[in-house]
């Protein structure tokens, strides 16, 4: 039976882990936990399938919206200040 507080510690890192933004030692700890904890693993799978669905929704986003964000980012990198 997985330890509840270990479950919580692992789930607290769900988004950073899925984004590859955790340290190597944190990553190893999470991977080891997910191998032995079906419930936590199911939370991570659900969140990953959500991220995959968002990425796959790209063609449904108005082209202008994607382009607007891209152009605004490029402008702001050059010092343009929105608002």
């Amino acid at each position: 039976m997985p330890n509840r507080s270990e479950c919580e510690a692992v789930v607290r890192q769900l988004w950073p882990y899925l984004d590859g933004a955790v340290s190597e030692s944190q990553r190893e700890r999470i991977v080891a936990h997910l191998e032995g904890c079906v419930n936590c693993a199911s939370h991570f799978d659900f969140a990953q399938s959500f991220l995959d669905a968002v990425a796959a929704a790209r063609p449904h986003l108005p082209a202008n919206e994607v382009l607007r964000v891209r152009v605004m980012s490029a402008l702001m990198a050059e010092g343009f200040e929105a608002q």
């Binding site: 769900l14 939370h43 959500f50 669905a53």
Partner: protein, 189 residues
């Protein structure tokens, strides 16, 4: 006179005055005491930079104020980390809700593309921009931080908040659309 005896003669007698400064800055007595201790530790370490003959009370007060604001910045950063971790916990809770509603495979089973696009457009711009850049355009946290001129912590907070809002909207959509009760896989084209 050694540096230590000079410190004892000039700085230490100002302890009651600095305690009052610390008390004015903090709310809690224990915090004030910690701040006084931190102030005198810093003052001792940097005693050689104290300009002899200048106002030691002002010098110590400035150290006290700086220590206080540094500590507060550290604490607000740790609050931000706590908020981010709570968003991850919220994602697990949302999964539990989806499971309870019978739609826990909604993302793999359904084509939610149009619904996701609508949900993204409904987000406030500051959330929408970050989630589009990271989750659709595949920017890293660092790239978004640089592009938008905001700290990485802010990128994370906005991104995770945006994801939660999207997940909540999509769960409501899946349940409302009646997919919850469907027994067979549905792939609307």
């Amino acid at each position: 006179m050694t540096a230590d005896s000079e410190f004892a003669a000039v700085a230490l007698p100002l302890l009651p005055a600095i305690a009052r400064v610390a008390h004015a800055l903090t709310v809690d007595d224990a915090d004030a005491d910690d701040l006084v201790q931190e102030t005198f530790l810093r003052a001792y370490k940097h005693w050689r930079t104290f300009e002899r003959g200048s106002d030691c009370k002002s010098w110590l007060s400035a150290i006290c104020r700086n220590a206080f604001f540094e500590q507060r910045r550290r604490e607000s950063r740790s609050t931000a980390v706590e908020d981010q971790e709570l968003e991850s916990l919220a994602a697990a809770r949302l999964h539990n809700s989806a499971r309870a509603s019978g739609v826990d495979n909604m993302f793999s089973r359904l084509d939610l593309g149009p619904a996701i696009a609508r949900a993204i457009e409904a987000l406030e711009p500051r959330y929408r921009d970050v989630v589009v850049l990271v989750d659709v355009e595949d920017f890293s946290y660092e790239q978004v931080a640089e592009a938008l001129g905001i700290p990485i912590g802010t990128v994370r907070s906005r991104l995770y908040r945006a994801r939660r809002q999207l997940q909540e909207a999509l769960l409501a959509f899946a349940v409302d659309a009646g997919y919850a009760t469907a027994s067979a896989p549905i792939r609307p084209e």
